[in-house]
């Protein structure tokens, strides 16, 4: 009996369970009715549920009854939840969810910009690429010159982008403008950038259509972001044929703060003794550079960074004067430069962020040009006017300050808004001492204020829009300008993406063409139109860009009282258009990473003293680069090579013609094509030696290995009867050095940077 009852009870229990089991099923799709696989379906607060199959279908059974909540979730999509009443009947419930806009899936606004970063997904280069590009000599701008859009101008420093001059490209560190990014100009010799590429963790090189957060550059913006905290405490020492240097980076125990300093001394005496220079150096180039920093995380997750830099350098060399045989110019320069930047970013809550930055910099150039005879003695007595003008001294003292505040609000999805203000103060004082001993002092001062706003709006993961505008006021010109910017990006299902960018860009005249006699002077203006296609996948990057740039209101100059060219008006104009291709591939050939870039440029302009619309001397029609990088593990050596080609550039002899009261082209031509093969290798002998506390890198680099002829243009004598090519200071340049890091085993870095 008891057994029977037990059986019965168990039977009822089991039957009851079976009887109350209800099947819940349906299909889950996105808003476009595309099935979603792998989504989790569950009854809240129970174990019951399942996972959708590859067609989006789901089905599970439950013993639960009554009111329950069904939840469906899949990462990248909105979570679905709905109250259901479980009775006796099977339940059928189809689910539709919306895709979330996420950084991982969304299109990225990239028109015009090349980004070098170690973390973001759309980057084309990494920070290390910049220092291991052959021919760049660890100079940020040197590496950028292997990317499309840049010109191979060898006679002066700076970035010449898409038919623009070097002064149309501005460089920013942590949001603030750097006025003397390069060492002071030397006649016919390009100088290097001052800043160590290892300072930066991110680089955005925009060859056009850049953000409304930046201004005063008609062509291009190079936006550098300094590192936050170093990865670890370390000391570095470098020894090379060019000088010595060392530094310390100390990371706090709590990894929330760091400080450091470094010092470098460069002296080219040894290098110049071994590699003959075209110029006759009477003062060997010598540089002292020091920097210091502190950085710390604030309590609320913000960050404060200070970076300070000071350098002193001098150079002096003689070069033959074109106007009279046997006469030499002895050019000497001494430069003192300081740069300080402090910036503070802070979370304000409610997804607001604040970025506050101040920078202050000074620059002093003490330039002397002396005319000397064959025995290097100063010429004396009465010199003809076209010679005496070359005997002078100039002392330029500049001070620049900038304050900047940007507020950023992030909305749902990736939508964001940035608003901010900028104020630049600049003062340049030039004291010119003529041959006669007569002194002229000129002071140029400007206060430039700007307000800007920019918004990123993601319509779907496939489509995004960036709209911005910048309002500027220049005290110098007593004028306002308003510069709208817009970009649109669309992503295809195969991950390729197309972008379009448009923008207006304004710029003040260069101070060397000031003061102006024209009280109505306005800003120079450029409009950019850029169309881009980019596809990054699987270790390969393809990018093509078409652009059109319309220059308007460019500055025209007239000859001032002491023979200087001074801004007279805004009646200059011009255009630039072209096509650029970039291809990088790390996959096809094992362990070989290469990139190819090609730029076609068609540009003409009338500005400064040009007699009309001409192709400017800094513009090649065709420019191409091939960069190769290969690390050979067993040899612990990285090999880097780069080949650069640029078609010949036009050159002109512009001479003043009194009858036309303007400049005319007295002679013109085209230089030979530019070719350069550069090579570098990095040897890491301690690689893989476990627990080795010193890490050593040997670097050997050779520029223009083949010694190909390079002509950057021609200088003409005053009367036009003689012309002389502008050539690089030496046919080849060789660098050899070694870099030590102490206190850490950097093997892991090397592995992963080179695998």
């Amino acid at each position: 009996m008891a057994h029977k009852i037990l059986l019965l009870l168990v039977g009822i229990y089991i039957h009851g369970m079976a009887w109350s089991q209800v099947v819940i099923s349906g299909r889950m799709t996105d808003q476009k009715n595309k099935p979603l696989a792998g989504a989790s379906i569950l009854l809240k607060d129970t174990y019951d549920g399942t996972t959708t199959d590859s067609s989006g279908y789901y089905s599970f059974s439950t013993y639960e009854t009554g009111a329950h909540i069904l939840v469906a979730s899949l990462s990248g999509y909105n979570t679905f939840s709905k109250g259901i009443q479980i009775g006796k009947e099977p339940i059928k419930l189809d689910i539709s969810v919306k895709e979330l806009i996420t950084e991982l899936k969304a299109v990225v606004i990239t028109a015009g910009a090349f980004e070098a970063s170690d973390q973001k997904k759309t980057t084309v280069l990494t920070s290390l690429d910049i220092v291991t590009t052959a021919g760049a000599n660890a100079d940020v701008v040197g590496a950028l010159k292997t990317l499309p859009g840049t010109q191979q101008v060898g006679e002066s420093e700076g970035l010449f982008v898409r038919g623009g001059t070097a002064t149309e490209s501005k460089i920013y560190i942590d949001g603030t403008l750097v006025n003397n990014f390069f060492f002071s100009s030397l006649p016919g010799i390009a100088t290097r950038g001052r800043f160590n590429p290892f300072l930066f963790r991110g680089t955005i090189f925009s060859s056009g259509g850049y953000s409304a957060l930046y201004g005063q550059a008609l062509s291009s913006a190079l936006i550098l972001e300094s590192k936050d905290l170093p990865d670890r405490t370390e000391a570095d020492l470098s020894l090379s044929a060019l000088g010595i240097g060392g530094g310390i980076q100390k990371l706090g125990k709590d990894k929330k703060s760091a400080w450091g300093f470094s010092y470098n001394y460069t002296n080219l005496a040894l290098a110049f003794a071994l590699i003959k220079q075209r110029q006759d150096f009477f003062t060997t180039p010598e540089y002292h550079q020091g920097d210091a920093n502190f950085r710390f995380r604030t309590k609320s997750g913000g960050f404060i960074k200070y970076y300070g830099y000071a350098s002193w350098n001098r150079t002096g060399f003689r070069f033959a004067d074109l106007d009279s045989l046997g006469v030499k110019n002895a050019f000497g320069i001494e430069n003192l430069n300081t740069y300080q930047n402090i910036n503070w970013r802070e979370n304000l809550g409610r997804r607001w962020k604040s970025y506050l930055a101040f920078s202050f910099s000074t620059n002093k150039d003490d330039i002397n040009n002396d005319l000397q005879d064959g025995d290097n003695k100063s010429l004396s007595g009465n010199l003809p006017s076209w010679l005496s003008g070359k005997q002078y001294a100039v002392v330029t003292k500049s001070r620049y300050a900038q304050g900047r505040w940007v507020l950023e609000k992030r909305f749902s999805g990736l939508n964001s808004l940035r608003i901010g203000a900028d104020h630049f103060y600049s003062r340049e004082q030039t004291r010119f001492t003529a041959f006669t001993g007569q002194q002229f002092t000129e002071v140029f001062q400007d206060n430039l204020s700007a307000l800007f706003a920019e918004t990123d709006f993601y319509i779907t993961n496939q489509m995004a829009v960036r709209l911005g505008s910048r309002l500027e006021y220049s005290q110098l010109m007593k004028r306002w300008n308003i510069a709208p910017r817009a970009s649109l990006a669309y992503k295809f299902p195969d991950n390729g993406q197309a972008s379009f960018a448009y923008g207006l860009f304004y710029q003040n005249p260069e101070s060397r063409y000031l003061p102006t006699v024209n009280p109505d002077l306005g800003f120079a203006r450029a409009a950019h139109y850029i169309l881009q296609y980019q596809k990054i996948s699987n270790q390969r990057t393809f990018r093509a860009e078409l652009f059109y740039k319309d220059y308007d209101r460019l500055f025209k100059t007239a000859t001032g009282q002491n023979g200087r060219q001074l801004v007279a008006g805004n009646n200059g104009y011009g255009y630039a258009k072209g096509l650029e291709i970039f291809w990088r591939d790390k996959k096809t050939i094992k362990n070989l990473d290469y990139w190819v870039s090609y730029s076609y440029l068609d540009t003409r302009r009338d500005f400064l003293n040009y007699p009309g619309s001409i192709r400017p001397p800094f513009a090649s029609s065709h420019t191409a680069s091939l960069v190769l990088k290969k690390f050979v593990l067993p040899w612990k050596t990285g090999f880097n090579a780069s080949y650069t080609y640029a078609s010949g550039r036009p050159y002109y002899d512009l001479a003043f013609d009194g009858s036309q009261n303007g400049f005319v082209i007295r002679d013109q031509g085209r230089t030979i094509d530019f070719n350069s093969l550069s090579f570098s290798l990095n040897y890491l002998p301690n690689l893989g030696k476990q627990n080795k506390k010193t890490f050593l890198v040997w670097v050997l680099s050779v520029n223009n290995v083949l010694g190909q002829n390079q002509v950057f243009g021609y200088n003409y004598s005053f009367n036009g009867s003689r012309k002389e090519p502008i050539l690089p200071p030496s046919r080849r340049f060789v660098f050899i050095g070694c870099f030590f890091s102490f206190g850490v085993d950097r093997t892991q870095d090397a592995i992963n940077n080179n695998l």
């Binding site: 009996m1 008891a2 009852i5 037990l6 009870l9 229990y13 696989a37 792998g38 989790s40 569950l42 809240k44 607060d45 129970t46 174990y47 019951d48 549920g49 399942t50 996972t51 199959d53 590859s54 990462s75 990248g76 996420t102 991982l104 170690d118 973390q119 980057t123 990494t126 290390l128 990865d231 991950n495 996948s537 699987n538 593990l633 067993p634 612990k636 690689l687 893989g688 030696k689 476990q690 093997t747 892991q748 870095d749 090397a750 592995i751 992963n752 940077n753 080179n754 695998l755």
Partner: protein, 213 residues
Amino acid sequence: MKKLLTVLSICIATISAAQPGDRFTQAMKRNMAAFDTAFARTESLVNLSNSFERIAMAEKTQWLPYYYAAFCQVNYAFMEQDKSKTDAIADKADQLIRVADSLMPNQSEISCIRSMIASARLMVNPMQRYMQYGQESEQHLRNAMAQDSSNPRPYYLKGQALKYTPEQFGGGCKAAKEFLQTAMDKYAGFVPASELHPAWGKPQVERLMKECQ
């Protein structure tokens, strides 16, 4: 008869009352038994992860179902061939392990998963990502070793990482063996705190040791 019925009903009542806990153990064991088959296909790993997550969300205070859900996800991240999808999977694993961590802080086993998540992210682009994720992975392993010196899994993971690092960079079998041997020794003496606690890894170490013979 009445007595029997009373005893029976008390029994049933007791069983019913005990069921939630028992149900948890049963469900967990059933899922854990599926590990061997689940690893064959990413779909079944996702199923299993979702199943652990359902238990986790119903229980709310148990760290182990979150731990195993994250464990499934991180293995899924390693198995996914399309590297553009890895980060999203790693995000999911990270989300799950963070909940486990909040329920049971300073767990050596949890640090192991976090190290694996960092390694999965690293694999997307080792060149670009080492500075961040390589060190993060390493740091979590060091934490795991410090949190429980008897846990063999951090030694297994370290040995595995070294085995797949080229010899020129201080990796290779020779360097790996030292850690794999330590892991083997520790597996020999390792007793999981309960039948639901993590006990995986030994066969993999044996396989790696064999490959290094």
